[in-house]
């Protein structure tokens, strides 16, 4: 299905990467990567035009091979959810492209540039992302080819229960989503993450439960067998789970904190659950750079955690200053400390601290996405998934190879 659409998505991806390079390097959009003086612009634009023409000609010459037989039996089907998923991802891509180009368009139309920064993307892109997360949970609940409202209602009960339970837990733990936009979006995303995670877990449990009942094997082994029988499907579910974990980490950014303070010896700074005490400040130099650094003892509710040494280097050859961040990461918090230098008036060291919650979960989610991709690439153990079911009744302890997956999977 949608072969022509997929081919143009590939062409558009390549063209947009070149457009992004052009916007930043040319200085059309203010960027530290803009070249100071260069005549490459005309050549680069010509190259982009050539690439577009090649894509269009290739498509035109091959379009007969790209004809698809578009068959949809139900609007409530997994195939339909793919198309909606595509639309939402394209809308997210368009939002970023539009926001990037709007200052240029505004200058052309109104005569003055405007800034399109974080508040715009927070207000527009976050709801699109939340909708995408919702689709990530609903997709696995839909059957291939032809679903029904009845089956969707039946399959959605457990994910909704999981989402509701998490919502109640969050409210009970002190979350107040009505306080501001950040709290509202974080609450919504965490509830949707619970929805997606429960939907994926239910898929595994249902399939593993059938194998467990038929073969008597343990749940873990049944899950492995289930996955091995249809690696693309269940690898995809692992990827969905990983995406939910990534969004869980993203939502933590609504509660980022930062603090900047002059710190003398044994001065303390409090941020979140941590207390930082300035142990000492020192200087050093070697052949490559001069360095000033701070030794900060970090305490969590009075218990010593670690010592951080943020530093500021001055490289002698390039005459450039570089800040070396010291950080401490846990599953709950990422604590970054920056030695910002000395206050020009008082001469005292200034320490800047950032406390970002749930960042580690973004990395965990990425690892799960990679793992799910690896699982999906493993060949499935059973190739004849479409084989007709045998007429003779099965024995109770028949090997799991005789079980045929019907109505699901790729």
């Amino acid at each position: 299905m949608m072969k022509q659409w997929n081919v143009w998505l590939i062409f558009s991806t390549f063209l947009l990467t070149m457009l992004g390079t052009d916007l930043t390097r040319s200085g059309l959009v203010s960027s530290v990567h803009a070249f100071a003086q260069s005549s490459i612009g005309d050549w680069f634009h010509s190259f982009m035009l050539v690439v577009f023409v090649v894509c269009a000609v290739t498509f035109w010459r091959q379009k007969d091979h790209l004809r698809s037989d578009h068959r949809i039996e139900s609007l409530l089907s997994r195939e339909s959810s793919f198309l909606f998923n595509n639309v939402v991802l394209l809308a997210a891509c368009f939002t970023i492209l539009f926001g990037t180009l709007f200052p240029i368009v505004s200058e052309y139309v109104q005569g003055n540039k405007v800034t399109v920064g974080a508040p715009f993307y927070n207000r527009i892109a976050i709801p699109i992302g939340a909708f995408l997360l919702l689709l990530t949970g609903i997709g696995p609940l839909l059957a291939w080819r032809s679903g029904s409202l009845t089956s969707l209602r039946r399959n959605i009960v457990m994910p909704l229960t999981g989402a509701g339970a998490v919502a109640v837990l969050l409210l009970a733990s002190g979350e107040r989503p009505w306080l501001d936009n950040g709290s509202f979006y974080a609450f919504t995303v965490w509830v949707l993450c619970a929805f997606v995670a429960t939907a994926v877990l239910c898929e595994f449990l249902r399939g593993a439960g059938v194998i467990h009942r038929q073969t008597g094997r343990g749940w873990l082994r049944s899950s492995v067998t289930l996955t091995h029988r249809n690696t693309r499907r269940y690898g995809g579910y692992v990827i969905h789970f990983g995406v939910a974990i990534i969004f869980l980490g993203f939502a933590g950014s609504a509660f980022n904190q930062s603090r900047e303070q002059e710190m003398r010896y044994h001065d303390r700074m409090h941020i979140g659950p941590y207390t930082l005490e300035a142990e000492s400040f020192s200087q050093d130099s070697n052949r490559n750079y001069d360095v000033e650094y701070a030794l900060l003892n970090v305490y969590d509710h009075g218990h010593f955690v670690t010592t951080l040494t943020p530093a500021k280097r001055f490289y002698l050859a390039s005459q450039q200053t570089e800040t070396i961040v010291a950080n401490h990461s846990t599953l709950a918090w990422d604590l970054y400390t920056v030695y910002a230098g000395k206050d020009p008036q008082s001469g005292e060291p200034v320490i800047k601290v950032f406390l970002n919650p749930l960042v580690a979960w973004i990395w965990i989610g990425v690892l799960m996405v990679v793992a799910g991709t690896g699982i999906a690439l493993v060949p499935s153990r059973l190739s004849a998934l479409a084989a007709p079911v045998r007429q003779e009744p099965k024995a109770v302890n028949a090997p799991e190879e005789n079980l045929v997956a019907v109505g699901g999977g790729d």
Binding site: Q110, N112, V210, P344
Partner: protein
């Protein structure tokens, strides 16, 4: 003595409520503006040592909030003084409204287009579907599909 302490406590809470509101509003508004020093950071997050602009901008912001100016009036005052690029996102005026309307409109149009396309494909599928002969094999497949609908 106890009622006096209670009165003092209430007065302290009421008296500092305004201060926390001013601080909260200033913080929120500082994240809706860009630092004028050219660092491309939000005013509330500019972390340049010795930044020539952010201390005075933050002081002006705090004064405006404490004086009771509305958020819109404060943003317009900063736009007047530092230019339109000081605002971190376009204000909802004239052509700038397009920045806020166009992306959600494109999403809604896309979803509507997808829905109409799916309906067309579904109609085409039903029109060209050949009647299935009731063979034992297809009956078995249909029964298995019904019974394993959960999978």
């Amino acid at each position: 003595m106890r009622p006096l302490r209670l009165i003092l406590a209430v007065a302290l809470v009421l008296g500092t409520m305004g201060a926390s509101n001013v601080a909260a509003r200033s913080n929120a508004l500082s994240h809706q503006m860009m630092c004028a020093c050219g660092c491309n950071q939000l005013l509330g997050e500019c972390n340049h040592m010795g930044c020539p602009d952010s201390p005075s901008m933050l002081a002006m912001l705090h004064t405006d909030v404490a004086s009771g100016m509305s958020n819109r009036a404060i943003l317009l005052a900063f736009e007047q003084q530092y230019g339109p690029t000081v605002l971190a996102s376009p204000m909802f005026t004239r052509f700038n409204q397009a920045a806020w309307f166009v992306p959600p409109a494109m999403l809604l149009l896309g979803l509507l287009g997808a829905f109409l396309l799916l309906r067309r494909w579904r109609g085409r599928t039903r029109a060209t579907a050949a009647p299935r002969a009731a063979t034992p094999e297809s009956e078995t497949l249909a029964r298995v599909r019904r019974e394993t609908d959960f999978l």
